[in-house]
Amino acid sequence: MKFRCERDALVEQLSTASRAVSSRGGALPVLTGIHLKAHKETLTMTGSDLEITVRASVAVDVKESGEAVLPSRIVVDIIRSLDSGAVEVEVSGEEAKISGGRSQFSVRTLPVDDFPALSDPSGDQVTVATADLAAGLKQVVRAASGDDARPILTGVLMSAEDGGLRLVATDSYRLAVRDLPEATVLSEGQKVLVPSRALDELSRVLGDSEEVNVRLGEREVSFDVSIEDGAVQVTTRLIEGEFPNYRQLIPSSYPNQLTIGREPLLEAVRRVKLMARDTTPLRITQKSDSVELMAVTQDVGQAHEEVDAQYSGDELTVAFNPDYLIQGLEAAPGDEVILETLDALKPAVLRSSEGGDFLYLLMPVRVS
């Protein structure tokens, strides 16, 4: 295998594919490598940890077709360290030669035959507009859990809802729901649980693309994105299991309703958060025409700020994890948000005052 290309064109796609490479390899050491395939005028780079596979391709000048697996970390570091300009990679036997400018590296390859065959999902291809999906992912993916001990919650639920697509994620402390009415990806009644890590990767590569092609199989789903000079495919296994019944978590009505400017509240929360150290929460006291934010950390200090707002309901103090509140406020669209509360121990709902397709459910912190 031998090919030549621009360092700048290669480095980004190589990094993208390498993010799916498993750091340890586990039972399959070859998975610490990145699979390269040069064919016709295209270099396809594949990284996989068997859960998530990212395949990135870029146009290169192929001198000699072939395949090889190179140690991912070191190759990414090498390409990244080179100056802009032409890079040449040549693999012969168990050695890969990488040269750019006046630098030359030779790297031991990994056995290419050991690299697992990674199949594509068999389902039909559906096309979704990137802009919608990108916005939805940005709002929802962060609410998923990062705790592998609770695999179901590390996923984002994608379900068919009124002819559109609904994205739901929760780490059990907050829950984000976003409807994409225009996106018909699933057939009515269908739902799948997609690892949030894969969707996070997908968000990173969506970039300026126009549309995403989704292919859903029995056990996996793939997303194909065309970008300038190439393409990226993210394939992931689906998570098996039943997502919590989130509908029953959303109370139907709230006695207390706060309407407040999104940006002013966000800024105030970020400031007051500075004094919410360790596990201390941020307390919000809602009054008729304002809210008071307060954080007190023993032996450190306290912060206090008042923000104008409209409030209907009884005076109520609720405490939240400031990070969860910030993420909800960042995700909510529009200039004004509504925070609805029941009491200090029940879930609160955050949404845009313009209504819309986004809802954020937030569980308070109980303070003794």
């Binding site: 001990a149 829950l175 978590l249 596990t279 308070p364 912190v365 003794s368």
Partner: protein
């Protein structure tokens, strides 16, 4: 005034009496707390049941045979723990020098409290009535110069089962220099700490069955029969010499266990196994004391004797093995162990603090619940068969395979 600083407080038929508080129909009846299934074990028996021969740790089947009228009640350890915590708060009002032994017993050193509260005996009576007022339960208190004597004294203060029925105990029993020798020597040797089945057999073969017999034997005979340390220790005990102190440090500050390795350890896996073992010891002690902590500590001593400690604070107090081990392992992952590890320690502090708690939308605490049930089962097995009877499966003996 004579120096009798040690109190041993032992609740009377603790589990049974707690159950009677919530179910008064049990009062006056023989009651057995524990499982009533084929394989259940008696955790505690009322004096009425004890009069029929029922004893703690006996199988429920035998207990039922001995006392067919007995009412069997399933044990409710979370509640016993809660009551125990309230009793400990009453202790705290008198002295911080408390060494909890189990949910229903503790040693107190009131040496420093006597200026404020009167003599040890007066403090004992006061505690007894404070506990009755506070939680509505009776206890027996032994007062003496040492832990061994105080423990034996509290037994003497207990209600007695006689041929005429159950006689109320004296409540407080004081062992002072006047009665110490007679009191101690009247006990069988197995009443002394460290006399188990093996030692008992050896002593019997020497014709020793009471503490009086033991005290009459020259130290050298015991040393030859039982070894220098054990023999010498028993000989001292037989004369009422017990220098062990009320170890209250763990109650006041933290609970910790540490291990010094026979040779420096470089293998992370071996250290992780050791963390599991130490976390087991820490969590088990926390539960025995009816406490839980929010800060988990890891201590590492390097071969050059330098120390590193790391800690992490969680939202909710923890007292189970996986909760402590998981955090301690996370802390270990942050440390460079390239130089090797000579000593490893795991600790728990900020005991009994309930901090702010992030509430959950989804009630999926199944894992935690199963662990607290499992932990309870482990505690009961250990109560009966000793600490080594059960343990986590992972580290059989990690310190033995460090050579690699």
């Amino acid at each position: 005034m004579e120096d009798l600083p040690i109190l041993h407080v032992d609740m009377d038929a603790f589990y049974v009496e707690v159950e009677r508080q919530s179910n008064p129909s049990l009062i006056g009846k023989p009651v057995v707390v524990g499982g009533d299934s084929q394989r259940g074990v008696v955790a505690s028996a009322s004096y009425e049941a004890r009069a029929m021969g029922v004893k703690s740790a006996m199988s429920s089947v035998v207990a039922r045979r001995l006392c067919s009228d007995a009412v069997f009640v399933k044990s409710d350890f979370p509640r016993y723990r809660e009551v125990s915590r309230r009793v400990h708060q009453i202790f705290q009002a008198v002295t911080p020098e408390i060494e909890p032994i189990a949910l229903d017993e503790a040693f107190l050193d009131v040496g420093g409290a006597r200026k404020l509260f009167g003599s040890s005996e007066e403090i004992a009576w006061q505690l007894r009535s404070d506990i009755y007022e506070g939680v509505g339960l009776d206890c027996s208190v032994g007062v003496a110069s040492s832990k061994l004597l105080a423990k034996l004294a509290s037994v003497a203060a207990k209600p007695q089962i006689t041929s005429r029925g159950i006689q109320p105990g004296v409540g407080v029993y004081v062992v002072d220099s006047e009665n110490q020798k007679t009191f101690l020597e009247a006990h069988p040797v197995e009443a002394l700490w460290g006399v188990g089945a093996v030692t008992l057999r050896k002593l019997r073969s020497l014709g020793i069955s009471t503490v009086k017999d033991l005290a009459a034997v020259p130290e050298q005979v015991l040393v030859e029969a039982l070894g220098a340390s054990h023999g010498g220790h028993l000989w001292k005990l037989s004369r009422g010499v017990d220098v062990s102190r009320v170890n209250s440090e763990r109650q006041r500050k933290s609970i910790s266990h540490e291990e010094t390795f026979p040779s420096d350890v470089y293998d992370r896996k071996a250290l992780e196994s050791e963390i599991v073992r130490l976390s087991d010891a820490v969590s088990s002690r926390a539960r025995t004391q009816g406490t839980a902590g929010r800060t988990i500590h890891l201590k590492v001593r390097r071969p050059d004797m330098s120390f590193v400690t790391r800690s992490i604070t969680v939202d909710e107090p923890v007292d189970t093995l996986p909760e402590i081990a998981e955090k301690a392992t996370e802390l270990l992952a942050q440390l460079d162990i390239g130089q090797g590890v000579r000593l490893l320690g795991v600790g728990l502090s900020r005991l009994d603090e309930t901090g702010p708690r992030q509430l959950s939308l989804v009630q999926d605490d199944k894992r935690d619940q199963s662990w607290s049930r499992l932990s309870g089962a482990m505690d009961r097995i250990r109560e009966r068969y000793g600490h080594s009877a059960i343990g986590p499966g992972l580290p059989i003996n990690p310190s033995e395979n460090n050579d690699s």
